[in-house]
Amino acid sequence: MIGGTDIIIPVLNSIDALDLAVRAVRRLWRNVVLEDGNTGEVLPPYKEISFYGMSEVLAFKDSAAAHSWDKIGPDPSLNGTLLHFIVTPNELTVAVDDTPSLQIENFIESLRRALLQDMFVSNAEPRRAA
């Protein structure tokens, strides 16, 4: 991931969006290692994660990938082993490789579609009495 690409998904509730992204990436990579992007601390199991106030999550494919990222940093040999989720009040940004694998592309598309459900984003106008 040298350079990388930011994919921005508009959301209404960023904390819900980050929660969904974390749940989803656990399915993408069964041995995923999650880190708080601000503190660098490895996150506990989902049940114990405190999402309140969290703004960045790094998802490494597995512990070997996490170790390699720590050791050598961005390197072409690590393509496809890291997803970086960043939330701001109305957006979820997913930073991926410049040329993401098909698996990652499909994952991002699924995530985007999931976040388009009306529980996460709403474009509907308020209903008015006739």
């Binding site: 209404l12 929660d19 969904l20 989902y46 049940k47 579609r113 009306d118 308020p126 009495a129």
Partner: protein, 167 residues
């Protein structure tokens, strides 16, 4: 000087935007008592069925969870008044704790008994089954996150709906 003690559970309900749980209940001064009873029933169901593995489902637990994961409490409170069975409240709490939804089977035919079956699996592989013949419990389906993973449809997570007030 008299100090007004605020009920932390009520405060969390109001901060979560679920004031209507209190204000729409008739009589509204009994709303908190009713909500506590609903939680007590769910907690009791959990203790009877899952014994030592039962998730504590108490006002205190909800207040504590709000501090770290307010979005989960918001989602939970949106269904606490409308779910028909105590067991399904326990199920919702389990999903919020990270259980995966392994199976959903809904059976509906007009003028025939309704049936909803949901099987969850814990992060450690333990399964739990929830069954209902009460269509009020179908409210949970609206809150489940849906995704396609490897081409397969997946239910995952339990989320608050973006409820807008209507004029």
């Amino acid at each position: 000087m008299n100090r007004i003690e605020r009920d932390p559970f009520e405060e969390v309900i109001r901060k979560s935007g679920a004031d209507w749980l209190i204000d729409w209940y008739a009589p509204s001064d009994r709303a908190m008592e009713n909500l506590r009873r609903i939680l007590r029933d769910a907690n009791e169901w959990g203790r009877q069925h899952w014994e030592g593995n039962a998730p504590p489902l108490t006002p205190e637990e909800i207040v504590n969870t709000y501090a770290t994961n307010p979005h989960k409490v918001r989602a939970f409170l949106q269904v606490v008044g409308s779910i028909g069975s105590p067991s399904f409240l326990v199920m919702v709490w389990r999903i919020l704790q990270g259980f995966d939804i392994q199976s959903v089977q809904l059976q509906y035919e007009i003028d025939k008994p309704f049936s909803l079956y949901i099987r969850l699996v814990s992060p450690y592989g333990m399964t739990e089954e929830y069954k209902s013949d009460n269509i009020d419990d179908a409210v949970v389906l609206r809150h489940l996150g849906t995704m396609k993973m490897s081409g397969q449809g997946t239910y995952d997570g339990f989320y608050a709906l973006n409820i807008r007030s209507t004029d």
